[in-house]
Subunit: 209 residues, 2 copies
């Protein structure tokens, strides 16, 4: 019995900092062999906890500019003076190989991906369950020495304002439930008729005299 072939899809996860997106993304990737992470390129400095090529591809501003000029990014944006972009080649390779690609990006990147590839993108916004919970999580995870919770809350609010641009919304009350929900969205998207490019062949076989 042959698997029905299908197009890979672009699975976008966005959320305000502190809503649990990174944990959900990591656990999805660990449990799903057909899902691969898109690594963004950035001009910002590497933090102590980060690994080049795992968390980001860290590049200089002049290289970033050249990639923009050559159209080598699927999306790119400036955030607080730093530049971020999604290199197109690794994504196209994965999709052509039938892999789905996970994008852990903000609303600006999600918007550009949706505009560039409307039929390939499924986008999920993860919301915290309450204002209090969001504040508590932001306090617990402060990493940079000059972090202040108010500034982080302002940034989170700016991101949350774009919730209605996403096709699906997961409210993260419980991380295991949120992972199950996000996985259901991914698996259902794989079963959309238009993504299963092998179906006409199967139907031909079913209907042959």
């Amino acid at each position: 019995m042959v698997e029905v072939t299908r197009r890979g899809l672009m699975f976008v996860l966005s959320s305000p900092s502190g809503a649990g997106k990174t944990t959900i993304a990591r656990r999805l990737l660990e449990s799903d062999d057909n899902l691969t992470l898109s690594i963004s390129a950035t001009t910002r400095s590497k933090r102590a906890s980060e690994v080049d090529g795992r968390d980001y591809v860290f590049i200089a501003k002049d290289k970033f500019d050249r990639m923009v000029e050559r159209g080598e990014f699927l999306e790119h944006a400036e955030v607080f003076g730093n530049f971020y972009g999604t290199p197109q080649d690794p994504v196209e390779e994965a999709l052509a190989g039938g892999k789905d690609v996970l994008f852990d990006i903000d609303w600006q990147g999600a918007k550009q991906l949706r505009e560039a590839r409307p039929s390939d993108v499924v986008s999920v916004f993860i919301l915290p369950p309450s204002r209090k919970e969001l504040e508590d999580r932001l306090r617990r995870r402060a990493e940079d020495p000059d972090d202040v919770v108010n500034a982080r809350m302002a940034k989170a609010s700016g991101e949350i304002g774009h919730w209605s641009e996403y096709s699906h919304i997961v409210v993260n009350r419980d991380v295991d439930a949120a992972i199950d929900e996000t996985r259901a969205i991914l698996n259902a998207a794989r079963l959309e008729r238009t993504r299963q490019t092998g179906l006409p062949g199967l139907v031909d076989e079913l209907l042959k005299e």
Copy 2:
């Protein structure tokens, strides 16, 4: 912490006879408290294995005609001289109560539901994995004494021809996997932004100063 309220959805399952739809529908209903089955009304005779009000609501042709005249069906159709219809009232009650409603109906009914309620319907077509498997299943489950496999195959082929009208396709190679896939489609549909009517309220609370 309050659940985000949402609109119930209309979850349509169709397949040719012998593709496993009935098993999938039953197992979904058993495992999902928020899903309720729409019971069709029909003018055909009750079979020995059927229970009135569980499998169908069996009604006389004149009553069926009156219900059609009064617009009391969400969809109705004639199949081989018998009439089938979905009474609207129980469906509306379930949806208003936040329940999702499962419809085990053929392509004609699915088409009418989609036309009547485009934003409420999610439709899944279940395909057998191969012609040989379909024939084997039809042979094994022959119930009526005058059943002939060729006639059943012709009917199945007629139904399969409508596969491309459905939003999602599940190929039933393994019934447990097919149930998981169908459940993922249902759960993902529940997480679509536009169905979660309580989200604007949650976002207001998250963004309040």
